[in-house]
């Protein structure tokens, strides 16, 4: 299904937003994609907008799209998922790329007709990214207190699958650009020939990147383990009270379903037959439907009107179940445990 090859890494020195724009323009001009999932600014927020002409790329707030997402419940992954017949380029973080891999396993997304441009992600800060530009946001490693809740327990900071990957982890000044698939390699070759990218990345930088990624994953795993230990150390009746108080406050609004990159059911039973579910059963059912595919992107936390710690509950259940099978959602193309 997907071509796999040893990744070629090149270096880029310059403004990373300009690089992304160059790639997007080339993809449209060369006809590699029909559109680039981007946005249009409206009242200070960004709404989903698919750019189809290279001319429009320069006005596109691609940096805001990547860092802050969209207003309301729109998301880049959902845009790709809902337009399967179109070839779209999308700018994503590792969690969203993992979601696309899980969706591809369930035949909801075609990775051959999508073009994934992604970034290594050190974790997204709560609210701070408004001031930070894309360069600062994806190069510096924030401390745990500054991170979004979901990012604190994230175990995967590099894209498991992509066409073009942009990494600022090794150095914010010498940016690494890698291509994994055939179509990604062709784009990177074009950029090299046009002089946008210079020579192959020096080995030291690649090793620094690997080391940073290793530390980020270790930190995420450590936080995940600590959270689990803390949860399970409480006596069962206390856990039960806490869980039920959180789950009972669910309004059954369905915002988390719309925001979740993995919830793809067009006729979601929770939305159609809402009255048959109590608030707690609504969330428990959603958990049992998709927790094993949860990539801890945290979009559910962001949209929940009741501020329920959804990614905490979903991801812990998901990891508890998937680690029995040595499975991690979205990092390779192995079958999910419940799809034997």
């Amino acid at each position: 299904m997907v071509e796999d090859r040893v990744v070629d890494w090149f270096t880029y020195k310059g403004d990373v937003l300009q690089l992304v724009r160059r790639i997007a323009k080339h993809l449209l001009e060369a006809g590699v994609v029909d559109g680039v999932v981007s946005g249009v600014s409206k009242d200070g927020k960004v709404s989903l907008y698919i750019v189809r002409g290279a001319v429009e790329v320069d006005e596109s707030p691609l940096d805001r799209v990547l860092l802050h997402g969209y207003r309301g419940l729109e998301s880049a992954v959902r845009a790709v998922r809902e337009r399967r017949e179109e070839r779209l380029a999308v700018l994503v973080k590792p969690c969203e790329a993992r979601a696309m891999v899980e969706l591809a396993k369930r035949r909801q997304v075609n990775l051959d007709s999508s073009f994934i441009i992604g970034f290594d992600c050190p974790g997204i800060r709560v609210n701070n990214t408004i001031e930070l530009g894309i360069k600062e946001a994806v190069s510096a490693v924030p401390s745990d207190e500054l991170l979004r809740d979901a990012c604190r327990r994230c175990e995967v900071h590099a894209l498991p699958h992509y066409d073009v990957c942009i990494s600022l982890l090794a150095s914010p000044e010498i940016i690494l650009v890698g291509a994994k698939t055939g179509k990604g390699t062709r784009v990177v070759k074009f950029l090299k020939e046009s002089g946008v990218l210079s020579d192959r990345s020096p080995q030291e930088l690649l090793l620094m990147r690997e080391e940073k990624l290793r530390l980020l994953s270790e930190n995420g795993r450590k936080n995940l383990r600590e959270e689990e230990e803390k949860l399970l150390s409480a006596p069962s009746n206390e856990r039960f009270s806490w869980f039920m108080s959180q789950l009972d406050s669910c309004a059954r609004c369905g915002a988390c379903i719309k925001a979740c990159p993995l919830c793809f059911c067009k006729d979601c039973i929770l939305i159609k037959e809402r009255k048959n579910y109590s608030p707690s059963l609504f969330l428990v059912t959603r958990m049992l439907h998709m927790a094993d595919a949860c990539v801890c992107c945290g979009k559910c936390d962001e949209v929940c009107p009741k501020n329920i710690p959804l990614s905490y509950m979903f991801y812990h259940l998901g990891r508890r179940f998937t680690s029995r099978y040595n499975y991690l959602a979205g990092v390779d193309f192995s079958n999910p445990p419940r799809a034997v």
Binding site: L231, L232, A234, P235, S236, N237, E238, R239, F240, F243, M244, D248, K275, N276, Y277, S278, P279, S280, L281, V284, T285, M287, L288, H289, A291, D292, M313, H316, L317, R320, F321, R324, P337, R338, V340
Partner: protein, 133 residues
């Protein structure tokens, strides 16, 4: 077959027939617990004997997922049990279900059903498909 052999199995056990254990999805098990069942036993065919090839395996995975959830939530993973048994094994079914029933008595009643009825929301009210209480 336990019935035809006139063997005793728990009077509090409510059998629900499905064409294959694979039909029993995780959210179905959760719905039973939310409706007040103290425990759920999913009985599937033994390894390699599933008429639909892998229904018993899928049932096991669903049971495991619910057990993980119940453990995290403090309701008790022991409330959901997977049993491998063919429909001809009346004695084994009777013995296993008796044993599980004993264990469930030791674990205690389902905390979900101990909550006040109004806390349970719509689950405590009749839904259109329920027989009148």
């Amino acid at each position: 077959m336990a019935g035809t052999m006139r063997l005793q199995y728990p009077a509090t056990l409510r059998p629900i027939r499905v064409p294959c254990a694979g039909r029993v999805s995780a959210d179905l098990i959760a719905r039973l617990l939310w409706r007040g069942a103290d425990g759920v036993i999913v009985v599937g065919c033994r390894a390699g004997e599933c008429e639909y090839e892998n229904g018993n395996i899928m049932a096991t995975r669903h049971v495991e997922m619910v057990q993980d959830l119940l453990e995290l939530m403090g309701i008790g993973a022991g409330r959901v049990v997977m049993v491998y048994c063919s429909s001809a094994e009346g004695r084994y079914f009777a013995e296993e279900t008796m044993k599980i029933s004993e264990k469930l008595r030791a674990i205690g009643p389902n905390p979900l059903k101990m909550r006040k009825a109004d806390e349970l929301g719509v689950e405590s009210k009749q839904t259109p498909n329920d027989p009148p209480r």
